[in-house]
Subunit: 320 residues, 2 copies
């Protein structure tokens, strides 16, 4: 029924809410790392959300911020790097991969938000290709990718930069024939237009956050590359549909039952970020979202299974 | 310096506190299961605590209670088993392994204690031999075993039963040459005497809990097979030393700085169970225990690393 088979893995309904591991499973494992991705899949969560930026030598790598984060980056001597960390766009892949992102500094504000995250050593920022190769392993064939593009706000030529990033990423995805398992995802709606132009075979997922909720959100970059959502003359689902998207990915506090219903009427799927609080998890189930992006997939699994709900097609987790 | 090389992996001091995953890592993964054990090792925790009981066909298997627990056991149809679950001693290994212990029922009291534990499907109660074979894999050579014997309080011939259990377990450990990585551990101090007689090459670890703290503890069995600790005419460390033990494993609320110092003066190591609360974790670090048995190893790693402390010999996790 859908033009995009990729979306089947993100569609809820009928006692089912999809789980999407946020940056892997940031509550449990170091974010945006291969051990975190493997853990997420190993507990039966098939969709990974992760972030892509580009190095100085033009290699797409998996990292959330345009700068290295001092609260989870150690140098070769095991010392935390100084704040502010260098821009990833100014380091080569080789330079980046001398650094260790397996541990979170328990003294940092950011570290205190994830007190149970395991502390690993010798974990490198992965290139996108590492994750794509992993997705292509026969035992990982269930894996779906929610690939978030991060726009570099400090880039000298933002338009040229984003065209190059999208082109590189699309080419790497296609080289592994992973288009049918990949959703392209961003706050940068202009970049998503570029995606639709360069890769019409992959669905696009439109992130949003209302300015009134920005302070309480998870977002670190103060100058996110995104539209002025507060100035829209229509609802967010309408705007996503008009932009040509297939998925709307709102911030949890912005979600209402009416908006979810409206999105569904417009033929959109709704995945919500980032839902960690048990009451919010329940509210998202109740308003009927398709998918929950979470740092704590075990927690959401438990809330779903306790009410006889599933997150996979094979009734994984369902109890009679 | 020690007669028991097994103890080196459990010795703290010098900025080091050892981590021991309780039933694997029960806060994160299903307890006493192979996926939980693998996760624990994968995050850099080398010591596993787990529980051994015997099936009807006399196979040592890894499970905490003498009865199957309805809050985390599903039958072949995916239904939770009825309370009270059958005694493990009345089922064969084959019968046991038709059941799924990968998920925890979020509606149960026990399930609510571990709300972040992942919900897996198709996870079986492992035989002890499965874990021993896993420990013998070349990539798992760092693994140390804190093997807890559970005495069956309902056995018809408790003495004969415990002799048979100890003999079977010791023979399986020896068959894989794992004696030098195994500590024998129990609340049943008579059983530990049997261990000392049958396996003098393996150190013994004496569990204790003062009756005054029993209510607040983790222990489910109402009639634990253990001495009447409240009636001892000497301190617990003195009693362990007199009994011939090498390690004392007290309940966290029973631990004081003086008792830890006394245990160390007597040449004992001190590992404490089960320490999940951040304030208690810090208190255990401060009173100088050797090891912390925890359901949340990531949490303890983070508290240790934030103060420049380590849990492994290779300065794993240490930050400069």
């Amino acid at each position: 029924m859908t033009l995009f088979p990729q979306l089947d893995a993100f569609r809820g309904g009928n006692n089912q809410v999809r789980l999407i591991g946020h940056r892997g499973s940031r509550g449990v494992m170091p974010e945006n790392t291969m051990p975190g991705f493997a853990f997420t899949l190993d507990i039966g969560v098939d969709a990974l959300e992760f972030d892509v930026v580009m190095t100085r030598d033009r290699v797409p790598v998996i990292a959330h911020n345009s700068r290295l984060d001092a609260s989870f980056t150690r140098d070769q001597k095991g010392s935390w790097i100084a704040e502010p960390g260098p821009r990833i766009a100014e380091l080569t892949l080789r330079e980046l991969q001398t650094l260790d992102v397996g541990g979170l500094d328990g003294r940092s504000t950011y570290g205190q938000r994830f007190p149970d995250q395991a502390f690993l050593n010798d974990v490198r920022i992965p290139s996108l290709e590492e994750l794509l190769d992993f997705a292509n392993l026969p035992e990982r064939k269930n894996l779906s990718l929610m690939l978030e593009f991060k726009s570099d706000i400090d880039a000298k030529s933002p338009v040229q930069e984003r065209v190059e990033l999208v082109a590189k990423v699309v080419s790497q995805v296609r080289a592994r024939k992973l288009e049918a398992r990949t959703v392209l995802h961003s706050f940068d709606w202009d970049l998503l237009s570029e995606c639709r132009r360069l890769a019409p075979e992959m669905p696009t997922s439109y992130l949003s956050i209302m300015p009134s909720n920005f302070q309480g959100s998870d977002t670190k970059d103060p100058a996110l590359v995104c539209p002025d959502f507060g100035a829209f003359q229509m609802s967010l689902p309408q705007a996503v549909a008009r932009a040509g998207g297939q998925m709307w990915c709102p911030y949890v506090a912005d979600v209402t039952q009416d908006l979810v219903a409206e999105a569904h009427q417009l033929g959109l799927l709704v995945s919500v970020w980032t839902v960690n609080d048990p009451a919010e998890i329940q509210r998202m189930i109740d308003v009927g979202v398709d998918g929950i992006v979470t740092d704590y997939p075990g927690r959401v699994q438990r809330i779903l299974s306790a009410q006889g709900m599933v997150w996979r097609d094979d009734t994984y987790g369902q109890t009679a």
